[in-house]
């Protein structure tokens, strides 16, 4: 989650400069700022650049000592290897990517379908011990998920969910539902309940009123929430590596990790797979960056 929040913030406007920096004024300020920003950008972006570079380097250049920053031979072989098995046919990695799409997509859908109506209910209705219930829901996110990996593993083995996509989908949805409820409740609170009241007096049932009036007004909120849920499911590594083992089920993060180790590591392939893995999330986050920032800053301004 932390990664996605960072991304979201970085898409927003640049943070305010301190008064001290302002006072430097004119060229001095901009020169110092530019220098610092360049240093920061290099530190932040170097691993990414290196990954991209490695993914298009010839194998010889990948392992060259000293390392070649420029003037290497460009090849697309690694990207071919990501999708095509050495003997032809689909590679294990391409299956893993497909699994990631299915698992992340379905678990996000599930969390949204369950979480949005729940958030609406918590926002609109007077429920016994509402605050305690909401606190309990939130409390499931207090611990790092890895804490429950072993109990979940044992339970899954009992009920036969080990090494299945359904198992991963369920556990990701379980982690995303509390998040969805909390984030969506904020958005629902912002939509005046009077719309539903008015629609009910105009002849609709409560559910119709929700469906026709409140839901359309919630779309930006749902988009922001779903993106966060999707990024979590897409990036999740620990549960994926503990709960799955076969190539048919395994998602991309453990599959890519699985490339490392053994006698040799094909770094070109690792880099290419990582690029392919990172790309959808980056593109997606870029497309919905406004909603992401809305999600991060939600509740900062009161009506």
């Amino acid at each position: 989650m932390a990664v996605s929040v960072d991304e979201a913030v970085s898409t927003g406007p640049a943070p305010d400069h301190t008064p001290a920096a302002r006072r430097l004024g004119g060229r001095g300020r901009s020169g110092l700022e530019v220098a610092l920003l360049i240093v920061l950008a290099v530190v932040m972006l170097f691993p990414v650049l290196w990954m991209i570079e490695t993914s298009i380097k010839d194998n010889r250049d990948v392992y060259a000592i000293p390392a070649k920053f420029f003037g290497f031979n460009v090849t697309m072989d690694h990207f071919r290897d990501v999708f095509v098995a050495p003997g032809g046919g689909r590679s294990a990695l391409s299956v893993a990517f497909l699994n990631s799409v299915v698992v992340a997509g379905v678990s996000t859908l599930l969390a949204t379908v369950l979480g949005v109506p729940a958030a609406w209910a918590y926002s609109r209705f007077s429920v016994r011990a509402k605050k305690d219930q909401l606190f309990f829901i939130l409390s499931t996110r207090f611990m790092p998920p890895v804490v429950v990996v072993v109990p979940i593993f044992l339970m899954y083995r009992q009920v036969g969910l080990i090494d299945s996509k359904i198992g991963l989908i369920l556990i990701y949805a379980a982690f995303n539902v509390p998040f969805t409820i909390w984030m969506m409740k904020g958005f629902v609170d912002e939509v005046p309940a009077e719309y539903e009241d008015a629609a009910m007096l105009d002849g609709y049932t409560r559910l119709q009123a929700f469906w026709r009036y409140t839901l359309p007004l919630l779309v930006p909120g749902i988009a922001a929430t779903a993106v966060f849920a999707l990024i979590f499911s897409w990036n999740e590594f620990v549960f994926a590596i503990f709960l799955t083992s076969s190539d048919d089920v395994r998602t991309a993060p453990p599959a890519i990790a699985g490339l490392i180790g053994g006698t040799t590591t094909d770094w070109g392939l690792v880099a290419a797979a990582s690029v392919v893995f990172a790309l959808p999330v980056l593109v997606f986050a870029y497309l919905v960056r406004k909603h992401l920032v809305a999600g991060v800053t939600l509740g900062a301004v009161r009506r």
Partner: protein
């Protein structure tokens, strides 16, 4: 149009909060009935129960001759106007007005006719093709009123419809609502926390406090003889002066020696408080006939009147309404006397009117 009967209404939320303790109301056909009270007094919950947006825990609600306890809001044939207007943001004024009619499934021609009629009544002609976001607060509220009108419902429920408007607009809309109600002969239940609104609009006013009705009466009845200390403090600006008194020698006498005319039938053995309106007192030159010595603490110059705050005897902060021609400086030694009719007298322990 129809009258509304609310009998022994009680509403308790699942979390244990009692929003309405016990409310009985009998609202006449064609009456403009105002429910007045501070926030949390249960007035809005009562209104929402009448609308069917809340289900009461116990008690009955009749609209006309129909028991509506178990009817959903849509089947109660009532219209409601909300504080936040609740206009559908994605619809133009015209479609906002037509919306409830289309929901009823009326033929197009009839919808068109009724929308135009309501638009004419509320002077919305130029606004028909705008969306709510392009309308000012006052315009939005007029559209909301028109949307309630097109339905030709049996009763109108108004939930603080003017609270979000600025003062000038509020006065205009008040006149407009009163005029409209009279013209249509509509039954209207109007919820507000603003006593000026209640006094100027209502045929009758119900004052609610802590989920109970404290008093029901015409504006004048409520103003002249508040039924409880709560009502006395709530109605009027500035509110009634509550002065501790005792019965002595056939008069009501307060600690500082101020003498009031006693109403008949006063109990002798209880501690009493007299409710004296600021206009029933007079600030005089010191030593004037029947006056007690007092001191001006402060004066609010309102232009058309002056509100003097005076201390006398053991009594602090007594408010007196005087014409702007009578001027005393702050800290001046003055006289204070009672000029009004017999005051309302309350029992301190029960907080209710005793005579």
């Amino acid at each position: 149009m129809a009258g509304i009967e609310v009998t022994a209404l009680h509403k308790r939320y699942p979390d244990g909060t009692v929003a309405v303790d016990h409310v009985d109301l009998s609202i006449g056909d064609g009456e403009l009935f105002v429910m007045l009270g501070p926030s949390g007094c249960g007035k809005t919950t009562t209104l929402r129960a009448i609308a069917g947006l809340e289900r009461q825990t116990t008690g009955d609600i009749h609209i006309g001759n129909t028991l509506v306890n178990d009817l959903p809001p849509a089947d109660r044939d009532i219209a409601m106007v909300f504080q936040f207007y609740a206009l559908y943001p994605h619809l133009k004024t015209r479609d906002n007005l037509a919306f409830p009619l289309r929901a009823e499934g009326l033929p197009k021609a009839e919808v068109h006719k009724r929308v135009n009629e309501a638009a004419r009544l509320m002077q919305l002609g130029p606004l028909l093709d705008r969306r709510p976001r392009q309308l000012s607060g006052g315009e939005q509220q007029r559209v909301a009123l028109a949307r309630a009108l097109v339905r030709r419902p049996r009763a109108f429920l108004m939930d603080e419809p003017l609270t979000n408007l600025d003062a000038e607009l509020r006065a205009d809309m008040r006149t407009e609502i009163k005029h409209l109600q009279g013209e249509l002969g509509a039954t209207m239940v109007y919820v507000t926390h603003d006593q000026v609104e209640a006094m100027s609009l209502g045929h009758r006013i119900a004052i609610l406090n802590k989920g109970r009705v404290e008093q029901i009466g015409t504006p004048l009845e409520v103003y002249d003889r508040p039924a409880s200390l709560f009502c006395a403090a709530f109605i009027g600006s500035p509110p009634m002066n509550l002065i501790e008194v005792e019965v002595a020698d056939g008069t009501l006498r307060s600690k500082g020696g101020l003498v009031l005319t006693p109403p008949p039938g006063l109990p002798r053995d209880r501690s009493l408080v007299a409710g004296v309106r600021p206009e029933a007192l007079e600030v005089t030159e010191p030593g004037a006939e029947r006056s007690v010595p007092a001191r001006v603490v402060s004066a609010e110059w309102l232009g058309d009147e002056i509100i003097y705050v005076v201390d006398y005897g053991g009594q602090h902060d007594v408010r007196v309404r005087m014409p702007p021609t009578v001027r005393f400086a702050t800290d001046a030694r003055v006289g204070l006397r009672h000029t009004g009719a017999t005051p309302a007298v309350y029992d301190v322990s029960t907080e209710e009117l005793v005579a």
